[in-house]
Amino acid sequence: MPFQLELRHEVLGYTGHYARPALELWGSGGVIIQGMLDALGPHGVRLQHIQVTGSGANASETLVTAQVPSVGTVKFAFDKLEFNFANFTQAFFEAIPKTMDGLVAWMVKAVPDFKFASHKFSYFCHSFVKDSTPQEALRAVNARELKSAGISLGNGAIFNYTVPSKSWQTQLLIDKSHHLVGGLFISLELQIHTGKIDYAQVVLDGRKYLADALAELGLMIPEASA
């Protein structure tokens, strides 16, 4: 029987690096803010949720930050786009690809030849293990023991893989949670070294990739989650 996870906290992050800085947008605060409002409006983002910061130590630190109510932030910089969402609903999760499409669409219009160089998605969660403990779940993941080190409280594992057909490089990490007492920490980092991606497909594939990898380790993540 696989160990079932009871999610208590989950975060999805993304950073997309542009192929070249979008300097055509320098000084076009209105265009940037309008683009972000159009993409994030359906999630309740209004003008008062947008913060412009331009006094950074260097040009790459000029940012436009949108606070998405109750969920997290989306950040535009001249060399990258980033979001971090926490404890989102299933409906919000399912809308992320459309939101990403919206965030990219206005840049494609405003910047000639705009394209990304790479993308990085990172997902992590802290959860309890149903009817068991993290130590039991970790025993199935990493059974190595260090006799000289004392008595094991559960050993984590890090798996680094590449998926050449998708230009993916992944890192799956499983360990005792440092933040949720008696919990399990799982993180998946997915780097895509190609510019053009289908966000909906990547989110779908990434979710299946995580579920399949965890299943091989005897762990079952709730179906309704990322």
């Binding site: 997290g72 910089a77 039991e136």
Partner: protein
């Protein structure tokens, strides 16, 4: 937090790497990111003070790009002043008890089970937010006559006792008792957490 240092140094620095003070760029940090502000207040309510202290950093728009504040944020677990660390220390002592007390040492199996289940049960109790784990009475922690681990909590006429088997194949169980009811249950973190909530009820 674990950090993997680059033992070969950087391209421009071919000297053997120092064992101390690697530069930030040479580190490969394994860190478990600190839950967000929202998560602090809803999932970890006991962290409100820490949360407040970090608010300014959280709203620093550079922070997420630089990822700096996450590296510096203190771990959440263990910051609450509850009894869990003391209980875990009591369980630790069972591995090599004072010979004068005449107690048997706990077996490694019982020790590992007790530590894992108690930690997870207290984590669940904390996470539920219904009761503060700080209100729980301290349990009595002992071994049985074959190296199993026993913990018992009492509040008023309510008792909760756990017995962690000395070895695999033997049964671990949870027993609870009050004036009105008593029963034996399987010893799982969720069951212990529920019974500790029960003992706290008015």
């Amino acid at each position: 937090m674990a950090a993997q240092h680059n033992p070969w140094g950087t391209v421009e620095d071919q000297r053997p790497a120092s064992r101390t003070s690697p530069r930030r760029g040479e580190r490969q940090n394994y860190r478990q990111p600190t839950p967000s502000k929202k998560a602090h207040s809803s999932v970890f309510p006991h962290l409100q003070m820490l949360d407040d202290a970090l608010t300014e950093l959280r709203f620093n728009p550079f922070a997420a790009f630089l990822d700096a504040f996450r590296d510096e944020a203190p771990a959440i677990a263990g910051t609450e002043a509850d009894l869990l660390p003391t209980i875990l220390a009591s369980i630790d002592r069972l591995i090599s008890p004072d010979a004068n007390d005449g107690d048997l040492p706990a077996t490694e199996y019982a020790y590992q089970s007790a530590r894992a289940v108690v930690e997870s049960a207290y984590g669940r109790l904390r996470d539920s937010g219904k009761h503060r784990a700080t209100n729980l009475p301290a349990p009595i922690v002992t071994t049985d006559d074959i190296g199993g681990v026993k913990l018992s909590w009492q509040r008023g006429d309510r008792h909760v006792r756990t017995s962690f088997a000395a070895s695999q194949g033997m049964r671990s169980y949870l027993y609870f008792e009050s004036a009105a009811e008593h029963a034996v249950e399987d010893l799982q973190p969720s069951a212990l957490s529920s019974r500790l909530e029960w003992i706290l009820r008015p």
